[in-house]
Amino acid sequence: MKYLGRRLVRAVLLLIGVSALCFLFTEMAPGSFFDEMRLNPQISPETIAALRSHYGLDQPLLVRYGRWMKSALHADLGYSIAYNTPVAPLLWSRAKNTLLLTTTALLLTWIISVPLGVWAANRRGGLLDKTVSLASSFLVSVPELVIVVALLAIAVRWRILRVGGMMSADFESLSACAKLHDVILHLALPAFILVLSETAVIVRHVRASVLEVLGAPYVQAARGFGISRARLLFRHVLPVAANPAISLLGFSLAGLLSGSLLVEVVCGWPGLGPLILEATLSRDLYLVIGGIMFSALFMVGGNLVADVMLLAFDPRIRREAADAH
């Protein structure tokens, strides 16, 4: 328990650090949301100054940071200038969609890549292994943007899947079951794109970690004792190989979130991505900071889940955690 507590404290510290970093960057920023207004001759400089002080943008850095912290504690995360509402509810309504997309993609990725990686490692040098290695090393080196654009082109060209948005125009009139069906149809393409590019990464890592354990002396010894290959693999190799794979879960989340931002923007999925992009283009500072905080929150949350899983699966971690105090 203490181990998890330490992790939790670390996560909170990390989030505070990220927010401080964001505010440091805003301090360096030369422009602001009101730059476009300044070019408009109908708006007087006094109005802009009044607006600036209304939103507290004329305060020094520390005061702004303090105020933001206070609002973060109220679960507001500051105030969006463009949307004229607190940031957090705005972000949360979009973050749900991002979460739906990324968790679906994450689950599918692991369901596909773990068996594939284990199998490829078990039959090292076989046809499947070679195909998987070749395909994944190609996919890893292709930039995500290209994968997104290419798959989207294919999907639109041959009308394979629903493209654009999350729901059909007549969504409200559908029954509950048809609604679910509709969302799944819209989810399929963005999720597939994410799964494809993430699987390529994960398969390689799973394969490498299984291979490493397969080469360990104790496995060779077990093999010498005549333990069957299946028992060896499932009983002796996989539990050990699980550790690096689970640690990878946290890291893979970072790639998944970045990829998801791209996919959301290009496919028109109403998640965090388009919102952040829009906020970036209109320089809606607190919304951008809020978006970064949300993504950091997801990352930290994912890492915590990975920590809990490690604690549950790996006795070495449990002992380490017990030894530490």
Binding site: G17, P143, L145, V149, L261, L285
Partner: protein, 342 residues
Amino acid sequence: MRTKTAILVALLAGLHLVLLLAGFFAPYDPATQNRDLPYAPPTRLHFKDSSGFHLRPFVYAWTSVPGGDQPDSYQEDHGHEYPIRFFVSGPSYKLMSLYETSAHLFGVAEPGKVLLLGTDAYGRDELSRVLFGGQISVAAGIAATFIALLAGSILGTVAGYYGRWIDESLMGVTELFLSLPWLYFLLGVRAFLPLHLSTLRTFFLLTGVIGLIGWARPARLVRGVVLSSRNRNYVLAARGFGGSDFYLLRRHILPEAFGLLLTQASLLVPRYIAAEVTLSFFGLGVNEPVPSWGNMLSTLQQYSVLVSYGWLLTPACALVVTSVIYSALADVFHSRLKSYST
């Protein structure tokens, strides 16, 4: 292994040479518009006409179909042949922005047009734009890599060599940087900076931002190398002879990180090219009319364009080719590094 490395390096050198001499290989200026030829498909090369077979390929001009329901349906005008000539003089340009010349690798006599990769919405030659856009995208990737590796190796060395609180605080900061999804981070940092700038300033800004975000991982890796070699016997011996910190680092410790930096460089360049392309794709990077692979691809955000004009995907293909070569090289470097260390 040796030959594979040689082939990859040769391919890479060729690619960069073509991009560097884009003005020579491109038949037209990347910003010249042909308003009567929007979305013209790639010009076809012909070898045969009514008088028989010609060794020198020739092209026909595109004319828009009168009464076609779309403004962009074209047919070949068979009335006049334009043979392709090599080493012709065309629109003048500055080779590597130094030497003013008008020599081009190939071209056809006016008013013919040779548009090997078709045109975009303004009738600009896609091939010329891919070549000139590649200059910017690839240069941005390389410059950002340089910044990230420089900052990363300086901070990593300081952390690894001096240890204690410097090490701990620096590694804490790297953890911050690594805990954020890079694209969110990139957009965030970009949001704090001015949007519309001159191309040159945008370029420096982009490379700066990408490099600034990327320094953390190289810093950690370099720190690891420095930490492990700091207490090697030969380093201790050199210190015993009175070597200064700077001397020890330069002569004995940092050379060990060279292979690592080379691997990182070949890994990071394609990633940072992709970062520039992504930002420009979103409209946050290099602005029109200066081409970059990213802002060329951004027209594809309209589904109708994406489906109808397949030749506009060429920047994506160029990006894939560049990335694949760099990644293959990174693989080779990586396995070499491994075989050295074991």
